[in-house]
């Protein structure tokens, strides 16, 4: 197991390198530099700034500088927020995004699998169709439509919740963003767990358990749950990627200071260093998470576990 983990980790390094390379060159190729504003800079001042950030040297030299700095944990200063370094910005934004993302993921897992499993158990009933249709809504209504509707209902018409802002993570400020982020994932997970549960319920060993007269609840939780959740777990990877993408919209609409927002602002402002920092950071993050998901899957799936024991 451990060997598998380290092998995967090692394999991740070329991936990270390529992510860095591609983003670096992409952002350099783009027209418009970080210092273009309404007022033009006097040419001498422009020259000074260029020299300071190595912008006047050939691109591969700049890349070399960048790699060297990254390996020391220095992502450079933000071009846009001149008094902050990228590391500081990421350190500020990442905890916020992680908290939101994990909460949304947990909510989605809980509600989604519960809904899917129950729907599968009562397959083809009104409940089944009802759950599936509602979960379709989660997939068919984009989050940038859902968010303003939720704000309108819960913050303006009924003033239960705040209409936006992070407020240093106050509980009531988190509710709407987490729900908005979770909704599409609840839908996907409900579908997957429903389909998976249906298959599991047909399998011989479950039918045996039923025929033995074991209580339903016991069968569902002790025997059916694990195999049902396997496909759900393998969906976790794309789910996390989906939540990260969704957070870009959610952070924008609710005004939450997370990484997704930094990224979009950074791209729009040509803040090279900030964008690079966020892309590399997310890349590493996704790789690590996928690794954990793989390990989890391997641990849960008895076939793989047996395989590992054999080797």
């Amino acid at each position: 197991m451990l060997e598998y983990f380290f092998r995967r980790l090692l394999g991740a390094i070329p991936t990270i390198f390529i992510i860095i390379l591609v983003s670096f060159f992409l952002i350099r190729l783009a027209p418009g530099g970080p210092f273009d504003f309404d007022k033009t800079l006097a040419p001498e001042i422009q020259a000074n700034l260029d020299a300071k950030f190595h912008l006047d040297e050939p691109v591969y030299v700049q890349f070399g500088y960048y790699l060297k700095d990254i390996l020391q944990g220095d992502f450079g200063p933000s071009f846009q927020y001149k008094n902050y370094t990228v590391t500081e910005l990421i350190a500020q934004g990442f905890p916020v995004s992680v908290q939101l993302g994990l909460s949304a993921m947990a909510l989605a897992l809980l509600l989604g699998s519960a809904a899917g499993i129950l729907a599968a158990y009562r397959q083809n009933s009104k409940f089944d169709y009802g759950v599936m249709t509602i979960s379709m809504l989660g997939i068919s209504v984009p989050n940038f439509v859902m968010a303003p509707i939720l704000i309108l209902i819960f913050a303006i018409v009924f003033s239960f919740l705040p209409a936006g802002g992070w407020n240093d993570g106050a509980f009531q400020n988190r509710i709407l963003p987490i729900v908005t982020l979770a909704l599409p994932q609840i839908a996907y997970i409900a579908r997957i767990s429903r389909g998976s549960m249906i298959e599991v319920l047909r399998s011989p060993f479950i039918r045996t358990a039923f025929s033995k007269g074991l209580p339903t609840f016991y069968i569902l939780t002790r025997h059916a749950l694990k195999p049902t959740l396997l496909p759900v777990i393998s969906y976790m990877g794309p789910a996390i990627a989906g939540i990260i993408t969704g957070s870009v919209v959610v952070e924008q609409i609710y005004g939450i200071p997370g990484l997704g927002r930094y990224f979009v602002q950074g791209a729009l402002n040509r803040d090279y260093t900030l964008v690079m920092g966020v892309v590399v950071f997310y890349g590493v993050f996704i790789i690590l998470l996928n690794l954990i998901v793989d390990l989890l899957y391997g641990w849960l799936d008895p076939q793989i576990r047996l395989q590992a024991r054999k080797t």
Binding site: A30, P31, G32, G33, P34, D36, F37, D38, K39, T40, L41, A42, E44, I45, N48, L49, Q80, Y81, K82, N83, Y84, L89, Q92, G93, P148, I151, L152, A155, I156, S159, P162, A163, G164, G165, W166, D168, E251, Q252, I253, Y254, G255, I256, P257, G258, R261, Y262, Q265, L268, N269, R270
Partner: protein, 574 residues
């Protein structure tokens, strides 16, 4: 000049006519004055004063605003400021916050009149080229250090120093030797500013500059705390390091979440500051900002989506603040490339055919005024020049334009194909669509709409290689016609049209040397006339500043520069 403004030393910056007082301030004052009395006397006095307070507040309930017990203001502020260093920032969001953190030589009243700031008075010599500022002796930094003339010398040298890399160094161009220093041909110490003692400042100008005092309200002329800058370098403008001389101090800065300012007790006019805390929220999405305003989380909205205007007019009429803003929204022609190069008739035809009235009344619906000149109205000491065809009925304009475009070489057989370029924004998109449809309808012009993201857009505008018609806007840095006129000078950095007329340039140069106000106005009007007749730009409308302000925010007055210092504002009891 102070006398000219009708002020005297006793009036603190921006004092209101209404009486305002807080219970806590009253009690504080009582405490101070009764320090040496016996406890019993103190208590009796406090009781009597409190009764008086209650009687007075009920009697003057319409003249005096009763203040709310918590004085905290929440302001929307558009995009996140990139810096709170006045020499390194640009844009309105930074400027708004810097007005609260720092104070320049000159300040503004709530309605926009120039009042003394750090400088309690000033005078100028007969040639209008040498100013002498007397600084008030009780002005202090937020750590208690006194503000001295040397602080201004240090700060102004810093902004023109090419090593600082400031975008707004040009603001100090009227000061002697400033432009040479910016270019790097002269030493920083040669800047025409020097300290005479601790509280006297002498500034020498390149030429008579009537708008110079107005210029001193601009944030780039604010002083910075020398010891902090020398100790922290570029990182001085951060929480914990930033020392300012304004009414508020920086308490928290959480990027993309909020900036919190707290009262600066060392500010020389602190006793008139009523707010204890001010929150600035960087919310770019205007409809999100509106929602948070409606939910009561924000007290002042910075920008309003125009599509919501009719709804706002119907439902939030009392809170809507629409004021003419010193700025012009226009489309520029790239006159260095075909089809607009050397084709004045074509440019004129396209400009005449746009029905600005329909645009402002039916599409924008915010009360913007259609623009038929280059300089907006309401500029001090100026009367703008307008197109004569402003008064013609649309049908006549269209007929004339059709003739013109035929003479220009285009028409039914050879329709004009043109591209309008604009930066990403719902409002710009709408206007471009409407203009394109008007061109198509009346002149058969095929218009392509090209939307670009801001940075790319700016870069392309500057190079003048790919643009034909581009959208642009210009807000005055100071309240004077020259702020608009200089934009189209052939050397100006933001002259993206490439307009170059030596006659125009000469008139501008002449006006810079003219001390007589009337003569100067005539020169600038002459220049504007030439400019308009050359059609390098299509003026569309004059900006309106649009805000929503909660009814319980007091002290907020509309003004043409849209400057709202937090020290004038307070929360009424509600």
């Amino acid at each position: 000049m102070c006398e000219g403004l009708g002020l005297n030393d006793l009036m603190p910056c921006g004092k209101q006519a209404t009486m305002t007082f807080t219970k806590s301030a009253l009690i504080e004052r009582l405490d101070n004055e009764t320090k040496n009395m016996s406890p019993l006397t103190k208590q009796i006095l406090q009781l009597i004063s409190l009764c008086a307070y209650i009687l007075l507040s009920s009697a003057n309930s319409h003249a005096a605003d009763v203040l709310a017990p918590t004085q905290v203001l929440h302001r929307g502020n558009g995009s996140e400021p990139q810096s709170l260093d006045p020499h390194k920032s640009e844009g309105v969001p930074s400027a708004n916050i810097q007005k609260d953190l720092y104070e320049g030589l000159v300040c503004e009243s709530p309605s926009g009149e120039l009042v003394p700031g750090v400088a309690s008075s000033w005078s100028v010599d007969e040639k209008n080229m040498r100013y002498l500022f007397t600084l008030r002796k009780n002005a202090k930094w937020s750590n208690g250090d006194p503000v001295t003339a040397e602080d201004f010398v240090y700060s102004w040298r810093r902004i023109v120093d090419p090593k600082t890399g400031s975008y707004y160094a040009q603001t100090l161009a009227p000061v002697l030797n400033a432009e040479d220093i910016i270019k790097g041909t002269k030493k920083v110490t040669s800047l025409g500013i020097r300290a005479i003692g601790k509280y006297q400042l002498e500034v020498r100008l390149k030429g008579p500059t009537p708008y110079f005092i107005g210029l001193l309200t601009h944030s780039s002329t604010y002083p910075v705390h020398k010891a902090s800058v020398e100790k922290h370098g570029d990182r001085f403008a951060r929480v914990g390091n930033l020392i300012g001389n304004g009414a508020f101090a920086l308490k928290e800065w959480s990027i993309q979440s909020h900036i919190l300012l707290e009262r600066n007790p060392h500010y020389w006019d602190n006793k008139n500051t009523k707010l204890d805390k001010v929150y600035y929220y960087p919310i770019e999405d205007q409809s999100s900002e509106l929602k948070r305003y409606r939910a009561g989380e924000i007290d002042i909205v910075e920008g309003i989506p125009i599509s919501q205007m009719p709804w706002l007019r119907k439902n939030l009429k009392q809170e809507l603040r629409l004021t003419p803003y010193l700025g012009i929204y226009y489309f520029g022609y790239n006159v260095t490339q075909p089809p607009f190069k050397d084709n004045k008739k074509l440019r004129q035809a396209l400009s005449m055919v746009i029905d600005r009235k329909v645009l402002t009344e039916k599409i924008l619906r915010t009360g913007e005024l259609p623009a038929y000149s280059w300089v907006p109205p309401n500029v001090t000491n100026y009367q703008h020049v307008e197109y004569e065809w402003k008064a013609w009925p649309m049908s006549r304009r269209i007929k004339y334009a059709k003739e013109l475009i035929k003479q220009a070489g285009y028409g039914k057989g050879k329709p004009l194909s043109v591209e309008i370029r604009y930066n990403t924004s719902e409002n710009h998109k709408k206007i471009a669509i409407v203009v394109a449809s008007m061109w198509k309808k009346h002149l058969g012009v095929k218009t392509k709409l090209h939307n670009e993201e801001w940075k790319v857009f700016l870069a392309n505008r500057k190079t003048k290689k790919h643009t034909q018609v581009f959208r642009s806007g210009w807000i005055a840095d100071y309240n004077d016609a020259f702020s608009f006129a200089e934009l189209l000078h052939s050397n100006h950095g933001v002259n993206d049209s490439g307009y170059s007329n030596p006659e125009y340039d000469a008139l501008l140069a002449q006006s810079a040397k003219e001390a007589d106000v009337d003569k100067r106005r005539k020169l600038l009007q002459q220049a504007e006339k030439i400019l308009l007749n050359d059609y390098p730009v299509i003026p569309i409308y004059y900006y309106m500043s649009k805000h929503l302000v909660k009814p319980y925010v007091g002290g907020y007055k509309d003004n043409a520069m849209d400057h709202h210092y937090s020290k004038h504002l307070y929360i009424k009891a509600h």
